[in-house]
Symmetry: C2
Subunit: 206 residues, 2 copies
Amino acid sequence: MEPGTGLRAITRNAVRVQIARTAEDLFLSRGYEETTIDQIASAVGISQRSVFRYFPSKEDILLDHYDSLGQQLLERLTARPDTENDWTALRRAFDLAIDQFAEPGRRAHGTAIQRLLDRSPHLLAAYLRRVDGVQQQMTARLAERAERQGRTVDPVVLRATVGAAFACLQAAVFQACGDEPAAQHVLLDRVMNAVHVTVPAPARRG
Amino acid sequence: MEPGTGLRAITRNAVRVQIARTAEDLFLSRGYEETTIDQIASAVGISQRSVFRYFPSKEDILLDHYDSLGQQLLERLTARPDTENDWTALRRAFDLAIDQFAEPGRRAHGTAIQRLLDRSPHLLAAYLRRVDGVQQQMTARLAERAERQGRTVDPVVLRATVGAAFACLQAAVFQACGDEPAAQHVLLDRVMNAVHVTVPAPARRG
DNA sequence: GCCCTTCCTGACAGTGGCTGTCAAACACGT
DNA sequence: ACGTGTTTGACAGCCACTGTCAGGAAGGGC
C-alpha cells in the first residue's frame, strides 16, 4: 500500500490545512509573535499537543509551503535540458516560483507572508534558513549535472552562482510581490541579466 | 560624560567577554543546543538573569561579534572612493572580513563557529538573518552613494548585487575557512570574477 | 566618616514553545 | 462484536526569556 492514499492520510491532510489556514488568519490579525499555539489550537478545536503532531514547530505552520515549493524548484531544475547553462537553468526553474503565486488568491497570501516576515525577526530567520537549504540542494544537483556532462566545475563558484541567483529572485520578488506575474518575470529577467555569471574558461577533463 | 568610558563600562565589558568565552567553550564541548543558559551562568559564577542582562538572547552570545563585523564592513564600504564601481567596492570591503580572522587564534575561532552553525539549524537561521540585515544596510549605503554621484540605479538590481556579493563571500569563506588569508583573498577574487555584475546601460538623469 | 542617589544583582514567578508519556477514544478489518 | 493499531487529550516537565522587586555595592557631596 503506497503512502499518502488511505482515508487516514486524507483526513490528516485536511486537519493540516485547517491548522495552517486558521493560524495564518490569526497571525495576520494579531501578529506572529503575539499569537500563541494555544490560541491556534482552541480556534481549530484541538489540543495544543495535536498542533505539534501536525507541524514540528510554530514556524512550520507558515513556512511549510515553502518547503514543497523548494522541492518543486529542485525537480524543475533537474528536469532542465543539459544544453542550458547553469544560470539559465536556474532562471527557468524560478518561473515556477513566480507562477506559483499567479492566482489572485495566492497573491494575497504571498504579500501577507512577506509582511509577517518583515515584522518578525524570528520568522525571517527561519525563512532564510529554508532558502539556504534549498540553495545547498540545488548546488548539489548542478554539481551532479556538470559531472554527468563531463564538465569540471569549481564547487565554490557553483555555490556562489546559486546564491547569486537566489539573491536576484529574492530582490525581484520582494519588490514586485503583489504585481502581475508577467511584470515579475520581466523584472527577474532584468535583474538576472545585470547580475550574471561568466562561465570560467571551460576546463578540459583530465 | 561620554558613554563607554567609566569604570562601570569597563567592568561591564569584561563580564561580557567572560560570558562569551565561557559560553563558546561550553558550546564547543557539549554542543549549542545541549548547553543551557544555567550552565553558562553557573560556569561564570553569576545568575541566569544576569546573562540576559549582558546578552539579549542565547544566539547573541555567539553572534554578537558578527554584528560589530557587519558595522565595520559598512564603514569600510562607505569609505571607498567614488571612482570604484559597486562590485569592486564590495570586494574591497570584504577584505576586512577575511583579515579579521588572520591571526591564528581568531582562525580557530572562525572554524569553530562555522562548525556550530552547521550543527544547529536554529543558530544558522539566526546567523543568516544577521547577514541579511547587513546586506540591507549596505544596499542603502550604495544607493546613497549612487544618489550622491548623480547615477540612477535600479534599487532591485542594487539589492541583488549586494546579495550576490555576499553569496560569493559566504561560498568562499565557508570553503576556505581555516586556510591562509592570502588563499582566501585569491579564492574570493576568483569567485567574484566569475559571478559578477554587468552595469546596465548608464542611464542619464532626468 | 556618613548619607544619598544610582546602578547592578540575585531570587522569584510567570509565559510560551516544545517534548515525553500514557491511558482513553477512535477507526478499521474480520 | 472483537481485537489491532493509530490518534487524541491531559499532564508533567524542560528551556529560553521577561517583569518585578528588594537588597547591596559604587560613587559623589558634605
